[in-house]
Amino acid sequence: MEGKVIIGPKAVIECTEDIPCNPCMTCCAKHAISLDGDSINSLPVLDDEKCNGCGICVASCPGMAIFVVDVNEGTVALPYEFIPIPEEGQEIDATDRQGKFVCKGIVQKIMYTDKFDHTNVVTIKIPKEYVNDVRGMKIIKEGV
């Protein structure tokens, strides 16, 4: 990615292990995700020219390992399977891959269709410098 200008939201695939799985590839209407080999076992790769950051793959990945990041806007879209589901405009704690607090964020958008089957795609807005660290969010409990 270095030296390349990225415009708009793009999928970030954090799938690191060869398990036989490919819904990310089959769900993408833009055919932006392919497998890095002939086997269903191969790791997915993103063609960021084709990816429009729609976020369908975020909900489709059974491993919840795909995010959509917009480095210029400072947004991260995450798969979210907890209740309560946050509301748009709500302030949340943005957390990293270890669940540690990174910064405050605002829920910008919640995308959900029946096809997602209880996986909400929550887009949070955070300071740009944290887009590569933030991979989760926690609802701020009142009175804590």
């Binding site: 799938c15 690191t16 060869d18 089959t26 059974p62 390992a65 991979r135 989760g136």
Partner: protein, 367 residues
Amino acid sequence: MIYNTQVAIIGAGPAGLSAAIEIAKDGGQVMVFDENDRPGGQLFKQIHKFFGSEHHGAGIRGFRFGEKMLEDCRNLGVDIRLNTVVYGMFPDNELGIVENGKSHTVKAERIIVATGATEKPLAFPGWDLPGVMGAGAAQTMMNINRVQPGNRIVMIGSGNVGLVVSYQLLQAGMDVVALVEGLPKVNGYDVHANKLKRQGVPFYMSHTIVEAKGNGKVEEVVIAEVGPRFAVKEGTEKVIKADTVCLAVGLMPSLELLRMSGAAFTHIPAMGGYVPMHSKNMQTTNSGIYVAGDVAGIEEASTAMEEGKLAGIAVCKELGILDEADALKREAEVNERISELRIGSHGEKRREAKDEIIRRYDSWKEK
């Protein structure tokens, strides 16, 4: 009373139901027996999305496979007997069952044993305190009976069962205060582990449980680091406040009935210990008796459903319900899907272990 059926299937889990559907759709007569009050085995507890490809139903939550199979069974008129214990397997394909408190005999032309698996225990001081349970038991409590097993959970074991159940405990509003693994590395899928890490669950690798303490119930859990051969390193003990210990230290095939049938077993650690020797068509060394799913070696629900189909096809072929060419074609389709599920750094070990079971069956047959 004596029931006569072409095929008797023991266990209405993913393997048993899938076998029943395969046979019933070809017009075979099937009876399925299950000791539980609802069918589906462990499938209805599986609220996470399954891996695989489109033709495995990837991305679909486990319990939805159960719903679909029950619907298929209803449409095909499969006779599922619930609350029915199969207590014995006798010569000439006879089963002893207890249904509604009455004992009956089942005479079947073929039997498919799909009895699943049992959680392995782990003994430590305090393991008999209320609050210590199998991870599967905790999963049944929350996902079937809608009861929280506790508030602060220590999970022992980082295989997929430990990881998936831990995540579901979080989803059900509990705290997983420690995930303890004897090995230096996570045993299950990284993506499952990463979901927990993102929620801040502390992972204790190369650790084991030393003791569960409390007055009449679990109140504290002592864990410690382990060195070579899992020996506890003195002085590394940590005390964790918790009210529940979930054990996810592996599964073993539920073989009790098969042992009565006289089928031969072989020991394959990667498959959970003793497993019935079986052919690639799931036939045991006792002709007429087939196996499918975890009882034939511990794997996953997706492979169990495919094995159920293999057993179903083989039985249909033998009974003349399905002609040779059709059977071969369908077997090939199923085998292709299964082989796709047994690849990768995790799946490869299972494929090797399965191949070894079949090799041992083949060499038994030659003798």
